[in-house]
Amino acid sequence: MIKITVDMDKCQHYGQCVFEAPEVFQLNADDKLEYKAEAPDDMLADLEAAADVCPMQAIFLSKE
């Protein structure tokens, strides 16, 4: 599994990650970011794409 961490002090809820990996990242009804803390290994490319497009570079990925 891949562990996903978002630095919520940095996150400004731009939502760019949502477009790259909607299975993991969502904007809720208040336009605030919600995300799953784990995802299967085959999602690595999408998750890296989501981390790449984060304006605040607040998304961190690690292997479990």
């Binding site: 400004q12 477009f19 336009d31 490319a45 790449d52 570079q57």
Partner: protein, 406 residues
């Protein structure tokens, strides 16, 4: 020559994303980064914001992580600028005279700030902001109470103004535009952002330029074209950028405004030939975007180094594997430009090419709070920009497509 590496000139975000893209697409051979800056690739937007206001922050706070795909087979040659390209011999020469042969070349040399438009008389206290070293130097003089004059009211100028004002400096912005950020955001949103800056004590001198500087050995005052004189301990020049293409002069590539490339991000010569082993990515690349029209442009938005890098990486892997690149090129390249800016509590997010617009229209919210504006060129939607209201702004992603052109 089959042992020659993929050579990436410019250890930048675009260069890094290109290398990652090539690895992802199957290229397992050697990669060399040749970078003029002493630093491994880092993220530039914090240089005008967090890093500029936080004493002690440095490269580690803005560096991009180097992923496992690039842990092996990658050589970093940093602190050395490229000075020449020999297309025939497939060699780049650096400032020490060392020759770097390549199997494929990526031009990712980016931009540098335009200089002060008037004679600086060798005065100290004049700054630009592009690199990490620039930011550290500027941070050391943005003290509370310092008189800071910023020439230029684009994103870099406005973000520095916001950071300096938050740090307790006395900030003046001098700009030839009628409102700040006019070119990118139009008069409505530009005026609103001016209002927000003014609420934090920033003064604007619009429709103005610099006439002269006074001081010795450091700048002490600036004189505007209207005759107004401003106290000035720190002068920041933020009047746009020029592409770093001098090293490509005489190479035969079209570098009339950045590096002209095709839909595969492959460099085009002055004679119109495509060089299948030379690519340009990031701010330095000039290409048409069929979402909007057929005019090749350099677009300096933050997401495009990543988009161009990923795209070039795919092509490079195919080219170096000896595959036919034509099908990939024929898919076309139509990335949706996106930019964002943080100034005080205004977090601005935009999609499209807002600065192609001739008018903007407020479609949701109110300017002094959260809002969304649409940008039109004639009847064609070319951009959207919002303060807050993220879901609505994000919903525009699929709405850009140039009308069929006869």
């Amino acid at each position: 020559m089959t042992d020659a590496p993929l050579l990436i000139v410019g250890a930048s975000m675009a260069g890094l994303r290109t290398a990652e893209g090539a690895r992802r697409a199957g290229y397992a051979g050697p990669i060399t980064f040749l970078g003029a800056e002493a630093h491994a690739p880092y993220n530039r937007p914090p240089l005008s914001k967090e890093l500029l206001q936080t004493e002690g922050q440095g490269h580690a706070d803005v560096a991009f992580p180097i992923r496992s795909a690039l842990e092996e087979g990658v050589e970093w040659v940093l602190g050395r600028a490229a000075t020449a390209l020999d297309v025939e011999r497939r060699v780049v020469v650096d400032e020490t005279g060392q020759q770097h042969p390549y199997s494929a070349l990526v031009i990712a040399t980016g931009l540098r700030p335009k200089p002060l438009p008037i004679d600086d008389h060798g005065l100290g206290g004049i700054h630009v902001l592009r690199t990490l070293d620039d930011a550290v130097a500027l941070r050391s003089v943005l003290r509370p109470g310092a008189n800071v004059v910023i020439l230029g009211s684009g994103f870099v100028g406005c973000e520095i103004a916001a950071t300096a004002a938050k740090n307790g400096a006395t900030v003046s912005v001098v700009s030839q535009s009628r409102v700040p950020l006019q070119r990118a955001l139009g008069p409505q949103l530009g005026a609103e952002l001016r209002r927000r800056h003014e609420a934090h004590g920033v003064r604007f001198f619009c429709g103005e330029s610099l006439f002269g500087l006074v001081g010795d050995p450091n700048v002490e005052r600036v004189i505007l074209t209207s005759g107004v004189m401003l106290e000035c301990d720190v002068l920041v020049v933020a009047v746009g950028s020029d592409p770093n293409t001098e090293w490509l002069q005489g190479s035969g590539l079209d570098v009339s405004d950045g590096v002209l490339v095709d839909a595969g991000l492959r460099a085009i010569g002055t004679d119109g030939t495509v060089h299948p082993e030379i690519f340009a990515v990031g701010d330095v690349a000039r290409y048409p975007n069929p979402l909007f029209d057929e005019v090749p442009r350099r677009v300096e938005h933050w997401n495009l180094p990543t988009e161009t890098g990923k795209r070039a990486g795919q092509l490079i892997a195919a080219q170096l594997a000896g595959d036919d690149c034509a099908p990939l090129v024929d898919q076309g390249f139509a990335p949706l430009p996106s930019f964002w800016s943080d100034q005080y509590d205004a977090h601005v997010l935009a999609f499209g090419m807002t600065y192609l617009a001739d008018r903007s229209e407020l479609v949701a919210g109110s300017l002094d709070d959260e809002c969304v504006l649409e940008y039109y060129r004639g009847d064609e939607l070319v951009g959207v920009c919002g303060i807050g209201m993220r879901s609505l702004v994000q919903s525009y992603r699929t709405r850009f497509a140039a009308p069929a052109r006869a």
